[in-house]
């Protein structure tokens, strides 16, 4: 995929900015949203190849967003990132068939490798 697109959802501006600069630097198309609701609006408007979402956000949290995304876009890979990991939330994420669950703080390079590998698997699966 020449210019993959990613949607980053996080209520923390710092994380959104950091990931925006990083993915743009890698030649990706990137959109950012500060909430689950805003993310759903963006998904309805533009094609996204990977969704990267924070778990704990005010109003619609990452798991609720994931469930909704699963219903509307069943093949869209979802990667969860969280600063508050727990066995329960990781199990819920597994059951919701998320592609990955990444704990904060993370290295952006490691995150990139994981996101890229899920995108590749998705491409191979749809070929």
């Amino acid at each position: 995929m020449e210019h993959p697109s990613i949607l980053v959802v996080d209520d923390e501006l710092l994380i959104r900015d950091l990931l925006y600069d990083f993915f743009q630097g890698q030649g990706w198309e990137i959109a950012v949203a500060e909430s689950g609701e805003k993310a759903l609006e963006i998904l309805r408007e533009k094609k996204v190849d990977v969704l990267l979402t924070d778990l704990r956000m005010p109003s619609m949290d990452g798991m609720v967003l994931t469930s909704q995304v699963r219903r509307e876009y069943p093949n869209l890979p979802v990667v969860i990132m969280t600063g508050y990991p727990s066995v329960d939330s990781a199990v819920s994420a597994l059951r919701a068939r998320v592609a990955d669950y990444i704990t904060k703080p993370f290295s952006v390079n490691d995150l990139y490798k994981r996101v890229e590998s899920h995108l590749r698997s998705q491409e191979e699966g749809t070929e």
Binding site: S86, V87, V91, A93, L94, D100, Y101
Partner: protein, 145 residues
């Protein structure tokens, strides 16, 4: 392909504790599944080579190899198999490893039998969907546990 079958699916229970194996096998048989058991990873691989299964319940703490270490090899050989990891010692790392290695579910011991029932039903549906099979069975016995 549509197949007519006499059970709700085939489940392989792998756990080194005989009491757990037997209890789970009885419970799942009463729910209408065809159930086989194995006591370790080698036994599970042996069973899987002899018959087709929809769901594998795989304990992590096995005597010969951990369930998590066995998981990628199993799924390379049987990609349509739905694997439910079981452990009494869950960690965030182990759940993430199970996710990345392709498990479809993760249950923490001790668990409610109803939780297991839901997990197995979901896993069996997933397995049938992956293998492109449709099940046509109308006789589903009531659980008797």
């Amino acid at each position: 392909m549509t197949i007519t079958k006499t059970s709700d699916g085939r489940v392989l229970v792998t756990d080194d504790e005989p009491g757990i194996r037997e209890d789970l096998a009885d419970y799942l048989s009463n729910l209408g599944y065809e159930v086989a058991t194995a006591a370790d990873a080698a036994g599970a691989l042996d069973r899987l080579s002899q018959a087709e299964y929809d769901v594998l319940l795989l304990d992590d703490m096995l005597p010969d190899e951990t369930g998590l270490d066995t998981l990628p090899r199993l799924l390379d050989l049987y990609p349509d198999l739905s694997v439910i990891m079981m452990t009494g010692y869950p960690t965030i790392k182990s759940v993430i490893a199970a996710m990345r290695r392709g498990a479809c579910d993760f249950v923490v011991k001790p668990f409610e039998l109803n939780e297991l029932k839901t997990a197995v039903e979901r896993a069996a549906r997933r397995s049938r969907w992956h293998s492109g099979r449709t099940v046509t069975d109308s006789h589903r016995p009531e659980p008797t546990v």
